[in-house]
Amino acid sequence: MMVKEYKTLETEVRLPYRLAYGETWTRFFEGMKEEKILGCKCSQCNRVLVPARSFCPRCFIDTDEWVECSQEGTLVAWCLTNYRYYAQPIEPPFISALINLDGTDVNFLHLIGGFDLSDLEAVRKKVKNGMRVKAVWEREKRGHILDLKYFTPV
């Protein structure tokens, strides 16, 4: 039996937004311009949280101590994205990763890069949980999370 085709409406919803970063995010992204990864330490649980937060999510108190975090850390988890969707902010293939920066108590989400990603088997051999990685910066800065280009194996 032939399936009858009905009409469809081609449409889109487009709305402009202007999202407020507020004090803490603003300072964090200013730090990006200076090649600094800024975190905050909670005075109650003593955890170093990165990226910086205005309050500790667990103790619910203001975090008033700023910390410049290490640019090196340990790989905790990763995946290689090899598919596309509408308005994807980063061109695939790319490796997303959770990285535990030295001296911090949460995992920092960013990219692993600096080597060829086209051969999956080669990537599998190279990228191992527990390996040491360090930050690589873009030359031109714009106060953005991608001023930090990626983390690369040490």
Binding site: F29, A77, C79, Y83, Y85, A97, L98, N129, I145
Partner: protein, 388 residues
Amino acid sequence: MGRAVAIIGVGQSKHGKRMDVCYPDLVREAVVAVFEDSGLTPDDIDGVVSGTMPSMMEGVAMTHFYFAEAMQAVGKPILKTETCGSTGVSTAQTAYYWVSSGMADVVLAVGHEKMNEGDSQATMTTVMEPFYQKYFLSGAPGVFSMQSQGWSVRFNIPEEKVREAAAVISVNHHDSAFDNPYAHVKVRLTVDDVKNAKVITYPIRLYDVCPNSDGACAVIFASEEMAKKLCKKPAWVKGVGYRGEEQFFGDSDKAVWPSAVGAAKEAYEQAGITNPRKELDVAEVYNPFTYQEMLFYECFGFCDFGEAPDLVLKGVFSRDGELPCDPSGGVLCTNPIGATGLIRVAEAAMQVTDKAGARQIPGAKMALAHAMGGIDQFNGVLILGSEL
């Protein structure tokens, strides 16, 4: 806990790529089905709960208003519940709370999604915190892949073993979908097909991932008094649990996952379950990704951490195993997101009332239904039983 509550009817639309119907008509399919199943009419309903993904999925906001007629909500109180992937379980729990509190006697819960009309992963990106995390999480597959990858290495599970077990899960669920008249994807696969499929987000491959589905599900919840009056064989809600985590993906442990562990623990305590693998007869685990399904088995106490792949390979969670999981084919074969969690609840209710047809687990009396939502942020669990 408040008053006892039972499920007295379930209804599903035909799920799939449904460009043959507009969205309200799709919703109405499930609502008509639930009235047919329960023998009730819209006059019997005290209130309606509706659930869906964010408005960006279909480009229409406040869909519970759009569906007022389709859900027969005109002249009744209406609530909307929205918790991303766990929406369906949250919708069920909202209806449960409403009846259990004594503020309503009969409540209709409806979940719905038309994923093929928009871009699901672009929609997921709008769920993410906009300044930092959205650049790196690449939709649902990126999130769940990273979680699964971290889990398997944490527990020293050889990559080949995880891949093999994931492939067995995929083959089983795709086979089961043939026994489910509502299922979307119906394809026979071999373990090698799954293992060698195209990589989506390494280590996850094509047949490890759920489809984009259009579909709706409706479930009627009733008080003890009304359930006994209106239904010969109700499915009783024995326990409900729900837990959330920080929105920062790196803040909590995604391998020993606090929200999944906590939601199950709360539901088990209410239901009096101490050994879930023994006491549950069937589980409808929210499984959009094969790898992640194994992580849930462990978080729900079906086995120890790191043990799930071995037990999958032994058949413990297969249709004829000790604790069959997702005999419906699960989310892996059918995923209209706003409906998906409610489908888990409906399937669990059908199992404990012996109405699951070809996918029935013989003699099932106690079932778990689950859904997970957000950027690995929320988990919800219901336990349903055949006895009050």
